[in-house]
């Protein structure tokens, strides 16, 4: 037994060398921080000696739960992620079907190349563009004024924040996200379409009965993954789009953690908020996966 292992290692052991660097990385930057979340249960100050650590149990979780921010940041986060999940999945699917079904090579080529582009715009430039277009003198307001409507202060209206965030987000990522669906559409056996044509199926029917069922597995896997990140709204863009007028609707969990934790150095409290977030995400993921396994054959595990 032992000799077998030795023999295996001598022959294939070098393979393990390949994963050592990334393993070290995972341990230091992923697993040690996971262990590090225990500061959420302490009153932690930087540079604190081990013997001065005060364990406070659920104090920080309770104080987050009881603070007025709890409802606000959770609600704000969900008011962005839930519509994003729905619209952000539906539009790319629609787009992929459009590309796939288009008989005009020109429109298809132009459409694909153009819609991929925004994916490569950096967050900073992207938010600047949003501000520019939605400003009082921006294109959209100029258009509204031209049509005889009142100008709207888009960026000053807190209630519009989540709509703006979701719509612009779809604008940026719809082309890129459609690639995966498009790829699975192109891998559909062409005989299916031929057979359908011979039997006289219309284009709409082909979309309904061939295209949609064939991308459904990919859609489900993507939905499960997204559900697992329902509470995870990246700070990069939200943070840049925040201003003092929309903050009541734009403060989300991640920006809240960043501001409280890194800006105000309330490490323990922020770690507690972050941990709360991660745990909810994990449950959502498990829930979505279980549900997916029940209603269809597709699931992550």
């Amino acid at each position: 037994m032992f000799n077998d292992t030795l023999k295996y290692l001598r022959r294939k052991g070098a393979l393990y060398l390949f994963i050592i660097p990334s393993m070290v990385y995972m341990v230091i930057f992923k697993y040690i921080p996971m262990y590090g979340v225990r500061i959420a249960f302490m009153d932690y100050l930087p540079g604190m000696k081990a013997d001065r650590i005060k364990w406070v149990g659920m104090k920080h979780f309770i104080s987050f739960w009881e603070s007025i921010y709890f409802k606000r940041v959770v609600f704000n986060t969900l008011s962005i992620t839930v519509p994003s999940l729905i619209v952000g999945t539906a539009i790319p699917i629609l787009l992929a079907i459009l590309f796939h079904q288009s008989t005009s090579k020109m429109l298809k080529g132009l459409g694909q190349n153009l819609t991929y582009l925004p994916h490569f715009i950096s967050t900073v430039v992207f938010v600047t563009m949003i501000n520019l277009f939605l400003s009082k003198e921006g294109v959209i307001n100029s258009f509204l004024a031209f049509m005889g409507f009142e100008k709207i202060q888009f960026l000053a209206k807190a209630n519009l924040f989540s709509s703006i965030y979701v719509i612009t987000g779809v604008w940026k990522s719809m082309g890129w996200n459609s690639i995966m669906y498009y790829a699975s559409l192109t891998s559909v056996n062409p005989e299916l379409y031929e057979a359908a044509s011979i039997d006289g199926a219309s284009k709409m029917q082909k979309i309904r009965y061939i295209d949609i069922p064939s991308i459904l597995p990919v859609v489900i896997v993507m939905l499960i993954l997204s559900t697992g990140h329902l509470m995870d709204l990246g700070y990069e863009r939200v943070y840049l789009m925040q201003n003092s007028l929309n903050i009541s609707k734009s403060e989300v969990i991640s920006t809240f953690v960043y501001k409280r934790g890194i800006v105000n150095m309330k490490y323990s409290f922020s770690a507690a908020v972050g941990l709360f977030n991660s745990v909810i995400n994990l449950f959502l993921l498990i829930g979505a996966n279980t549900l997916a396994r029940k209603v269809s054959e597709e699931s992550l595990w």
């Binding site: 921080p33 996971m34 590090g36 500061i39 950096s122 600047t128 009965y209 991660s278």
Partner: protein, 664 residues
């Protein structure tokens, strides 16, 4: 064959399930044409929706900024010039940040590839024992993470702060990309190829480098592409981990220029820099897609036009808040001097500046109150009596703040802790502080006393502040300390008091007039994001504000200028007995300010400060003002009042005024 009934096609799909396709044969041709038209129409709409903004940005960048700001560039560029681009290429900060980005990209991508590709390769190999379990070690991190703070602390404890390694290491490998590599290797490297390499005597490492990699150029190229785009576009890690400005990558510099209008911060420093920075910003603005329109909007205005702008029906509070960051105290004072009392009320009413510490004050529709329970001997019991009385009238939502008689650390700590305990006992959603010198408060805070805000009187000149025993460094240190050690959750944790004439009284006015100096106080204050700023307008005495007419005018000026400069304003509507003013005058003043949208007033027992010996607004005044204007306490505080049975639907109940509520 004519068949109007739908018939079914049965077909086995690639997925192995049976698909039933109902078909309506006769109408197929027609509906196909319609479908085709719809598809093309939708594609054209998509192309326009995505293409136009992209096109427009290019047009903006080569148009005259003035034309862009006027909203006149819709489709064709106007006033074509490439000045923006020239400026970008000449700006040393941008060039430097560009090279910084290149460094981060190269370093980061190299690390990414070194970690991702070999891992994906090894895990794609069936003969790697335990590879399923190893894979799960990676996968798990996609679903659960320690979060931002613990990661930050790890980076910090590794001593990586302010290095490029800190920017690239936390995201050194994307598990997702690694899986993509693994899948690629799995489906593109056949076992035979690898076997033949072994037979030729190559070891694992040689096989990888000489056989596997050359066959997988596509995936490596794709990874390089993905990762480098990520590094090019990222700013957040750089923002958190880098502190030296010369190390900033391009995105961070752009963020500062476009989105933060850094220029306004520079305005407080020196005159030459302002014009310089302004020119740079003005020129590079649209080449980099810039939004800082602030200066262009107001730079050509005369003070009179500025007043018109502020008072215009079309100018919203949001518009004013936006430009306020670009205003100096001098500009605010100049326009205030051209405005009548009504103008000052009207313009101030538009501007809403909130403060957020444990609670939020200054929300539209609210009027808050600082409870001022001063006592001539700093008796804790005396102070608490006043607090109980004030709370029972609904006062104290802005804060509970005591002016101490004795400015010493033990005394201040004693008062702070007594109030802190009282607030804790009754779970009052408010903040508190003792208005001693800031150094005393800082020492108390360091010694473990509990305070949510730090207070200081400030002046509008350096000399004046020196007379107060402070400078910018001390205030900065105080703010950091309050955020770290204080009980206030922030982000606003400072409380400043000002008042026209204080610089003159200490001979530190440098021949500037008191309105300008007052406005400059607000310029100083806003750097420290205060929770409250309070002008003690009637305290200064008749040498500076002679009578009630002047005091009322000054209070309206201060309130307006403060808000214009972007600080949350309150006013101590008060008078001293050697001034030509009486009770009616401060009541007039308070009504005007309440209408002008003030954040808070003082609340004293019977309006009489028995420690400082002056007259201000009383608990009853606050209740009366709220009642006549329909304004309410801060929401969290109102909830608490309701819980205590003091207030119902925004009206005080019969129990109000009964301090014995708090003795039970």
């Amino acid at each position: 064959m004519k068949n109007n009934k739908a018939c079914n096609i049965n077909k086995i799909t690639a997925l192995g399930s049976v698909v039933k396709v109902p078909v309506n044969r006769t109408r197929a041709y027609n509906s196909d044409t319609i479908t085709e038209i719809i598809i093309r129409a939708l594609l054209i709409i998509t192309i326009l929706l995505v293409g136009y903004p992209l096109y427009n940005i290019v047009v903006y960048s080569i148009s005259d900024p003035v034309e862009v700001n006027m909203g006149r560039v819709i489709f064709w560029p106007r006033g074509i010039n490439f000045g923006g681009y020239v400026r970008v290429l000449k700006d040393p900060a941008i060039i430097r940040s560009f090279f910084n980005t290149i460094k981060i990209m190269v370093l980061g991508t190299a690390i990414n590839i070194f970690l991702t590709v070999p891992t994906g390769y090894a895990l794609s190999r069936k003969d790697l024992k335990g590879n399923k379990y190893i894979l799960w070690i990676y996968l798990f991190t996609m679903f659960f993470s320690g979060g931002l703070i613990p990661t930050f602390l790890v980076v910090q404890s590794l001593g990586l702060m302010d290095t490029y390694l800190a920017v690239v290491l936390p995201g050194a490998m994307s598990v997702w990309n690694m899986i993509v590599c693994r899948t690629f290797f799995k489906s593109n490297l056949s076992d035979e190829v690898l076997e033949s390499a072994y037979i030729d005597g190559a070891g694992e490492i040689r096989t990888f480098l000489q056989i596997a990699l050359p066959l997988s150029k596509t995936i490596v190229a794709l990874m390089v592409f993905y990762y480098s785009i990520g590094h090019w576009n990222g700013y957040f890690n750089a923002m958190i981990y880098l502190s030296t400005r010369s190390k900033y990558p391009l995105q961070l510099v752009m963020r500062r220029i476009h989105l933060q209008s850094e220029i306004s911060e520079a305005m407080t420093e020196s005159g030459d820099d302002i014009t310089n920075m302004y020119q740079i910003a003005g020129m590079i603005r649209y080449a980099l897609v810039v939004i800082a329109i602030i200066f262009n909007e107001i730079k050509d205005m005369t003070v009179g036009e500025f007043r018109e702008f502020l008072l215009s029906h079309d100018t919203t509070g949001g518009d004013i808040r936006r430009i306020s960051r670009g205003l100096t105290g001098e500009m605010a004072a100049a326009v205030a001097k051209l405005m009548s009392n009504m103008d000052l009320v009207y313009a101030a009413k538009k501007i809403n500046v909130q403060g957020q510490c444990n609670t939020v004050i200054g929300l539209p529709g609210t009027l808050s109150c600082r409870l001022q329970p001063n006592h001539p001997t700093d008796s804790v019991e005396g102070v608490l009596s006043s607090i109980r009385e004030g709370l029972s009238y609904g006062a104290g939502d802005a804060m509970i703040g005591i002016n101490p008689v004795e400015d010493s650390v033990p005394n201040v700590s004693r008062l702070l802790n007594a109030v802190y305990n009282f607030i804790g006992e009754w779970k009052i959603p408010t903040q508190h502080c003792v208005l001693a010198h800031i150094i005393t408060q800082m020492k108390a805070l360091e010694g473990g006393a509990r305070t949510s805000l730090l207070f200081q009187s400030i002046a509008g000149s350096e000399k004046g502040n020196r007379a107060f025993g402070i400078n910018v460094g001390i205030l900065k240190e105080a703010m950091d300390m309050a955020l770290k050690l204080g009980t206030g959750t922030g982000p606003n944790v400072m409380y400043f008091e000002t008042g026209q004439g204080s610089e003159l009284s200490s001979g530190s006015h440098n021949n500037a007039d008191q309105v300008v100096l007052e406005a400059r106080c607000y310029g100083l204050a806003r750097q420290f994001k205060p929770f409250l700023v309070n002008t003690v307008v009637g305290f200064i005495g008749p040498e500076y504000l002679y009578d009630s007419k002047q005091v009322i005018r000054a209070s309206l000026e201060d309130h307006f200028m403060g808000k214009l400069m972007g600080v949350p304003m309150g006013v101590d509507a008060c008078y001293t007995n050697h001034m030509k003013a009486d009770q009616n005058d401060i009541e007039n003043m308070a009504v005007l300010l309440a209408v002008a949208g003030i954040n808070y007033f003082m609340g004293l027992p019977m309006g009489d400060d028995i420690m400082l010996n002056y007259q201000s607004t009383s608990f009853h005044d606050i209740a009366a003002l709220r009642s006549v204007t329909g304004l309410r306490p801060a929401p969290e505080f109102e909830k608490w009042l309701e819980k205590m049975g003091i207030m119902e639907n925004g009206r005080l109940t019969k129990r109000a005024g009964d301090a014995s509520l708090f003795t039970g």
